[in-house]
């Protein structure tokens, strides 16, 4: 009886977290994909690991460290992009590896039993705590409101940044805001699918959705729905066959991605 009650509570928590993550990924991921900044987002995502390690070493919440590193990475990358830096792409690769290296060193330096970093790399749906749901919900709502408020400016920015800039219809703030959202989204996805798989959950649903939609708004909605379907069915499968949940979700998404290839124009 008690086990059942625990099971239901866990299930509800899991469903809610999958829902928030999917909507967040649907909106932010669509922008990432359309703006062709998957590499940059990957850089920000992997920098997060440095923050996780720092949290362990200094004894504060690793997710807070992750958030700090995510935002720092976002600012560095947006500033580099604005300056039109040479070897922009290569430098992102450096930040990418540096984040992982810092994380490993910090964790190694911490005396005592090493923490289970597996959860941070690949996620574990059962690791999602009730307390994680509130920031997830808040961030999802903020994202929806911002996307709704600035949808027309966003279209201008995504279609032709130069023109948007020249006419004032999208400011530099868009860049910083976008990268910050990428960073924060990765932190939110951390417990669900982990650093390494986060980029897949951000990009696969929008890419599939884009094959069937003609407007960015519908791409965002369909991507959210698809993300939710992949997450839920992935979790059910993982539970049934005792597989790792994060990896199962991404595997399902990848199968759907391949299966819908013929619909790509």
């Amino acid at each position: 009886m008690i086990e059942d009650a625990l099971g239901i509570a866990l299930t509800q928590r899991v469903i809610f977290s999958a829902f928030f993550a999917s909507v967040l990924c649907g909106i932010v991921g669509t922008i990432i994909v359309e703006k062709n900044i998957v590499m940059m987002s990957g850089g920000i995502a992997h920098m997060v690991f440095g923050g996780v390690g720092l949290g362990f070493l200094m004894g504060f919440e690793p997710l807070l460290g992750a958030l700090a590193f995510a935002l720092t990475g976002a600012i560095i990358i947006a500033a580099m992009k604005k300056k039109d830096s040479r070897h922009f792409d290569g430098t992102i690769g450096v930040l990418w590896a540096l984040g992982m290296a810092l994380g490993s060193i910090f964790i190694y330096l911490k005396p005592g039993e090493p923490p289970d970093i597996h959860v941070y790399l690949f996620g574990d749906i059962e690791a999602v705590r009730l307390a994680d749901l509130y920031p997830m919900a808040l961030l999802t709502i903020v994202t929806i409101v911002l996307a709704f408020a600035y949808i027309n400016h966003l279209k201008s920015y995504l279609f032709d940044e130069l023109f948007a800039d020249a006419t004032g219809s999208a400011s530099v703030a868009f860049d910083y805001l976008l990268y910050a959202f990428v960073g924060v989204s990765v932190v939110v996805l951390l417990r669900l699918v982990g650093i390494i798989l986060a980029i897949a959950l951000l990009t696969i649903p929008p890419m599939i959705a884009g094959r069937f939609t003609k407007k960015i708004e519908t791409t965002m909605v369909l991507a959210s729905v698809l993300g939710f379907i992949f997450s839920l069915s992935g979790m059910v499968l993982a539970y049934k066959y005792a597989l790792p949940s994060g990896a199962t979700i991404i595997l399902l998404a990848s199968i759907a991605f391949t299966a819908t290839l013929p619909a790509a124009r």
């Binding site: 279209k155 279609f159 004032g168 400011s171 868009f174």
Partner: protein, 232 residues
């Protein structure tokens, strides 16, 4: 160098010569590293909305899911404001601009389905939506067929009665036929005033001989670029 109001000016030069950079400086989205640009006597950054820009084909996202009508409307957006939606008047205005450049029937079409010529007209319509006094076009005919080219240049000729046009191009034949004055840009800028064109100037700008072949173009002779102190 000065561009007079109502002029139709051409800027020619090879890739990497700084043509697009010059356009960005005039638009106020890039600072000039040397010298300065004034638009109506003011810093370009302060007079946004006076200069309309038609970008090169490589700078915008051709695959982005957006309709022709929506793209033209982005020209009306202006400054970033939350919950910005388009009013009835703005929608009608966008329609009439599309009518004018001849793409009204493509309004609901997705950008990625358009031909090169139609895409170019859409970008011109978007630039017109900001009601510019100056229109800058960066290689507007780089990837379109001759027939569409002609219709675009005719459109520009017509627009020239209302606004100054600055045309950045490789298309030397067109420079001769439509343009009133020429500047050559290959890192250095040379201004030629009244358009005159011959093999020397082209060779000087591009660094290699270029065939000059155009029908019905009156023969013009362009003076050499003169450095200070050189005899005339």
């Amino acid at each position: 160098m000065k561009v007079a109001e109502g002029e139709f000016m051409g800027i020619i030069g090879p890739n990497g010569g700084g043509k697009t950079t010059l356009a960005k400086v005039i638009l106020g989205i890039k600072e000039a590293s040397e010298g300065s640009v004034l638009v109506y006597g003011m810093q370009p950054r302060k007079v946004r909305g006076i200069v309309g820009y038609v970008p090169q084909f490589t700078t915008f996202e051709k695959d982005f899911p957006i309709s022709v009508g929506e793209v033209v409307l982005t020209g009306l957006l202006g400054k970033v404001k939350p919950f910005r939606r388009f009013g009835k008047e703005e929608l009608l205005k966008a329609d009439s601009i599309m009518e004018r450049v001849g793409i009204r029937h493509l309004k609901e079409k997705g950008v990625k389905t358009l031909s090169g010529g139609a895409t170019q007209k859409m970008l011109i319509a978007r630039a017109l939506a900001i009601e510019p006094k100056i229109l800058i076009l960066d290689e507007p005919t780089a990837s379109i067929d001759t027939k569409s080219k002609d219709s675009i240049y005719d459109l520009l000729k017509e627009l020239n009665s209302e606004m100054t046009i600055i045309l950045i191009t490789h298309d030397l034949g067109v420079i001769s036929a439509y343009v009133e004055s020429i500047a050559c840009l290959n890192v250095e800028l040379f201004y030629h005033g009244e358009s005159e064109i011959n093999e020397n100037i082209i060779e000087h700008t591009f660094g290699c001989p270029v065939d000059l072949l155009a029908h019905g173009v009156p023969h013009r002779v362009l003076k050499h670029h003169k450095k200070e102190g050189e005899p005339k």
